[in-house]
Symmetry: D2
Subunit: 309 residues, 4 copies
C-alpha cells in the first residue's frame, strides 16, 4: 500500500528541485544540457553490442488499453501498386496518424507537455502553447536525438516479485536497493529507466485499463532524481503512479520533471526485453538512444528507443 504524499510536501519538493534559469532564461533543453560526448563515449566503450528496442507496437485497434488507437491505412496496397505516379514503378504506400500521448503508446514528453498552475519549464506561460503548436519548449529541443548512458533499475527483481501491482509506488529506497543489487550507480547525464514489470503482468494476467491503475514512481523520488542530475527518465508505465497517491497535487513526477527540473520523460516503454538482456549479461548499463520525430511545435513524439547493451 502506497502512502499518500501531502500537497504541501509536493509544493516544497517542486520548489526545491527547480532548474529554472540554471542554463539561462532562454533555455528550452533542461537537463539535456547535462549530456556530454565524453559520457556518451564511455557508455559506448563497454557494450557487448546487443541491440534491444524499448518501444511498444503501435496499437491500431481500440481496446481497453488504448481507447483511442493509432490509425494505419493503406493508400496504395498490392491491388493498386501501379498507382505511384512513377511510370513502371510498383509500390505500396500507407498512412499513420496518432495522438501519441496515450497510455498504450511509447512516447517522449516534451517540456511543453505539462503545466503547473499555468506555467511550464523555465517559467513560461501555458499560452505559449497555442492551437498551432508550442512556441517554446517544444519537442524540437530534442530534435538532434539523444545517445547517452542508460541505466535500468529493475524494481520487481530487487523486490523478488514478478511485477508491481497497478497503483503501487516505487520509493527512493527501492531505487537505492536496485542500484545496490545491480551494482550500478546513477549520475549526471544518465538516462534512468525504471521497470515496474508492467509487461510481465500483462502477459500473465491480460490487458487492463492503465488509466485505472499503473505502478509508478512515488513523488518522494523527486529529490533522488534531482540529486543525481539525470538527463532523462523513462518507465514502462506513466512514470507517475495511477491513480495518483497525492490529494490535489497532480502527477508529481510529470510536473516535477517536466516543469521544475526540465527532465524529458519517456512514457509507456516496454522494458521487458531490455530487462531480460541485462539479466543475461549481468549488466544494467548500456548506450541508450532515443530520437523523436521532428515536429515543430510538438508536445512530444512517438518513439521506439534502442538500447545497445
Amino acid at each position: 500500500m502506497v502512502e499518500r504524499v501531502s500537497d504541501a510536501r509536493m509544493d516544497a519538493l517542486f520548489e526545491k528541485v527547480k532548474n529554472w534559469g540554471r542554463w539561462g532564461d532562454d533555455d528550452e533543453r533542461g537537463t539535456l544540457n547535462l549530456l556530454t560526448p565524453e559520457h556518451t563515449a564511455r557508455a559506448a566503450r563497454n557494450v557487448v553490442g546487443r541491440t534491444v528496442n524499448c518501444g511498444r507496437v503501435l496499437p491500431v485497434a481500440p481496446s481497453v488499453e488504448n481507447p483511442v488507437p493509432a490509425q494505419h491505412m493503406m493508400i496504395l496496397a498490392g491491388d493498386a501498386r501501379h498507382g505511384t505516379g512513377v511510370p513502371g514503378a510498383e509500390a505500396c504506400i500507407d498512412y499513420i496518424g496518432l495522438a501519441f500521448h496515450g497510455l498504450g503508446v511509447s512516447h517522449l514528453d516534451a517540456l511543453c507537455h505539462v503545466f503547473h498552475e499555468g506555467v511550464m519549464y523555465n517559467g513560461r506561460p501555458a499560452s505559449d502553447v497555442m492551437s498551432t503548436g508550442a512556441t517554446r519548449n517544444s519537442v524540437m529541443a530534442m530534435a538532434g536525438g539523444v545517445a547517452s548512458r542508460g541505466v535500468l533499475l529493475d524494481i520487481p527483481r530487487t523486490r523478488g516479485v514478478d511485477w508491481l501491482e497497478p497503483g503501487d509506488g516505487v520509493t527512493p529506497d527501492d531505487l537505492d536497493a536496485a542500484c545496490e543489487a545491480q551494482g550500478v550507480q546513477v549520475g549526471p547525464g544518465d538516462i534512468l529507466l525504471v521497470s515496474t514489470g508492467r509487461d510481465a503482468r500483462r502477459e500473465a494476467e491480460g490487458p487492463w485499463d492503465p488509466g485505472h491503475g499503473l505502478a509508478g514512481l512515488d513523488g518522494e523520488c523527486v529529490p533522488w532524481l534531482a540529486e543525481r542530475d539525470i538527463a532523462m527518465l523513462g518507465c514502462d508505465g506513466a512514470n507517475d503512479i495511477m491513480p495518483p497517491n497525492t490529494n490535489r497535487w497532480p502527477l508529481p513526477i510529470h510536473v516535477c520533471c517536466l516543469v521544475a527540473m526540465g527532465v524529458h520523460l519517456l512514457d509507456n516503454l516496454d522494458l521487458s526485453g531490455l530487462a531480460a538482456v541485462c539479466e543475461e549479461e549481468r549488466r544494467w548499463e548500456f548506450l541508450f538512444t532515443v530520437s523523436p520525430l521532428q515536429i515543430q511545435g510538438g508536445t512530444g513524439s512517438p518513439v521506439n528507443p534502442v538500447a545497445v547493451v
Copy 2:
C-alpha cells in the same frame, strides 16, 4: 551527364544480386541477418561520443518540396490544458498524421514497399500487401531497431564540388574514390550512407521539387553494394536518381535493394550535419542507430536516425 542503363542490364543485375532463400524461405529480414553484436560493439568502441541526427524536420505545410505535408494539430493547447480527464492535471496534447513515403520526409522503406513485376522480397506476391496492411515483409521485421557500424561516403567532397546536381548519378567509381579519400572500407553488416549534398544545394539555391530532380545512385552501383553485403543503405535523396536514367526499368536501387537483396532503405535523410561532424573528426565511420515506429503491416516508418560519431 549520367549514362543510361539498359533494361537488359538491369534485368541481369537483378538476377545476379538476388538473396531470395539465402536466409530461408520464411525470412522477412533480408540483410538485417548480417547484423552481429560483435560488429556493433566494434563500431561503438571507438566513438568520440558526438551525437548527430540524420532526419529532416517533418514538413507540415504544403510546399514544392512536400505537396502532401504531415498533419500536426493540437488536441489540447494551453487554453484547454485542464481538459485532460485527470483532475487537477494541466497538459497539452497533439496529433500527427502522415503518409511518410514522401520525398520531403526522412523515412525507412520496409521490404514490402516495392515490387518487381508483382513480386517482393523472397518471392512473395503483391497480393500479400492488402488494404489492411502487409501480411509479409512489413516494417515489423525492423521492430527491434538497428544499431550497427555506419559509414558515410561524402561524394561532393570527393569530387571537389559543393553538391551533385539534381539528376546526377553516383557511380561505383565515385564510391571507390570516396572510400579511398576518406580512408574507409565498407563491409558486411555496415549501414552505408551516401551524401549527394542535397541540403547544401538547398541552402544555397532554395527548395525545388525533388520529384523533378534528385541526385542518386546509378543502377551500376548494385553489384558494388551486393559484394560488400551491406545491411542497409541510406541517402539524402531518394537513393535512386530522379528522373531515372533507365528506360522502362523502374527505380533500380529501390527494386534491387528492397526486392532482390532484401536491403532496407533510408530515404531523404539530412546528412549535412553528419558530414560536417565527420569532417571535423576526420572520421567517416560511427555507430548508427535507426528505429522505426512499430506499425503492424506497415510499409515503412518516419525516422530520425542518430549517429554517434
Copy 3:
C-alpha cells in the same frame, strides 16, 4: 422474441428480389432510377414547411456507443486567428476525420459497401473495390443528392410501446399495421424510414453498445420492400437486427437491399424529432432530402438528412 430466418429462405429471397440488369448492365444507381420529378413535386406540394433533421451529432469522444469516434481538431483557434495567410483576416479553421460506417454515425451506404459471396450490386466482383476506392457502385451514384417523398413508419407507436428492445425485429405485419394506423401507403420512388424508438430508449435507459443489440427489420420484410419499389430505406438503427436472427446468412437487409435490389441505405438516423413532428401534424409523409459528400470511390458518406414535413 424474433423468429430465426433460415439460410435457405434468405437465399430464395435474395434471388427473388434481384434487380440486376433491370436498368442495364452498366447501371450503378439501382432503385434511384425510380425517382421522378413528378413524384418529388407531389411530395413538396403539401408540406407544412417544418424542417426536421434526421442525423446524429458526430461522436467525437470514444464511448460504448462509438468505439472509434470522429476526429475534430482545430487548425487555427481564436489564439491563432491571424494565421490565415490572408493579411488582416482573422479566422478559425478546423479538421474533421472519420470512418463513417460506425453504429453511432448517421450515414449513407453506397451500393459498393456490402458484398454477397464476393459480389455486389449488378453482379460486380469485390475486387472492383480497391485499396484506392471503388471503381464501380461508389457513392458518386448519389452525388446529385436525393429529394423525394419520404414516409415514416413509427413501429413503437403502432405497437403501443415506447421503443423496441435491442435485438427485436420489425416484421411485414408491423409495416402493414403502421401504414394502416398512420393512414399512409408506401410506393415506387418513396424513401421509407422505419423508427424502432432507439433514441427514446437511449434517453430513458442510457447508452449501450449497439453492436450488442439493436432492433431492426426482419429478413422477411425484404419482399415487402421489393414489391413497393422503394427508392431508399433508412432506420434509426442499422436497418438489420443486431445480433442477426439468421444463422450463417449475414445482414439480410443490407445484403438484399444493397446487393440484390440496389436500394441505398441510411443507417443510424435519429428519427425521434421527425416522429414527434409527424405526430403533431398527424402526417407521416414529407419531402425528404439526403445528400452525400461527393467522395470519388467512396463506400458511403456521413449525412444529416432533412425532412420538410
Copy 4:
C-alpha cells in the same frame, strides 16, 4: 476593373448592418431566425421537382486548386472484405478527413469562423473559440438543417458574358439587374445564391489557383443584402473578391455577413448545374436545402446542398 472600397466605408457599413442583440444576447443563429415554415412551404408548393446538387466533388489529390486535399483511404477494400467483425458479413469501409475551409471544397461557414478585431457575431470574443472547438456560435446552430426559398442570381447571364474574370466584383447594380432580368425578388428568409460563372471558366480555360483570383461580391453589396434580410448567402467562389478590393479591411463579405449580420455563408458551391436547370425552367427560385454535419464546436461543415427546382 473593380473599384476599391475604402476602409472607412467598410467600417461604416459594418456598423450599419450589425444585428447584434436583435434576437437576444444569447442568440447564436443570426438570420436563421428569419426562417419560417410558411416561407418554406410557399417555396415548396411550386417546384417542378427537379433535384440539383450544388456541391463540388471532394478534392482528394493535391492540385493548384486544392493545395491541401481531402483524405480518402480504404480501411477494408474488397481484398479484406471479410474483416468486418460480423461473422459471415462482407463489407468495405473507408475513412475521410479534411480541413473543409479550402477554396476547392463546398462548405458552410459557421458564425464562429471569422472575427473582426477579435470579436465574432453577437459581440463574442475570439477566445470563445478554443483549441478544443468553439464554445459559442458553432455550426451546431445549423444542426437542424435548413430548407427555405432559394434564389439564384446568374450574373454572367445578366451581363451577357460566359463568366466573370477572377478578381472581378459583383455590384449592387449587378444584383438589381439580375433580379429584373430573371423576374425574381429577394426577401426575408431567402437563401441567395450568386453565380459568377467560375465553373464555366474552369471548363473552358482549366483550373487555376483560386487564392490568386476569384470573382465575388463587392463590399458595397452589404447594405443590399442587409435590407433584404436574407437568411443565408452562397456563391460559386469565396463570396468575397479574391484578391480583395479593400485596403486593410479584410474579407468584407465574410466579415459583414458572419460577424455583423449573422448570415451563414456557403463557399465554393458549384452552381453550373443549377443555373442550367433554372434556365431550362425559366425559373430562378426553388426549394433549397443545406444540412451540415453536426460537429460540436465546429466552425462549419463540408456540404452538398440540394435545390429542388
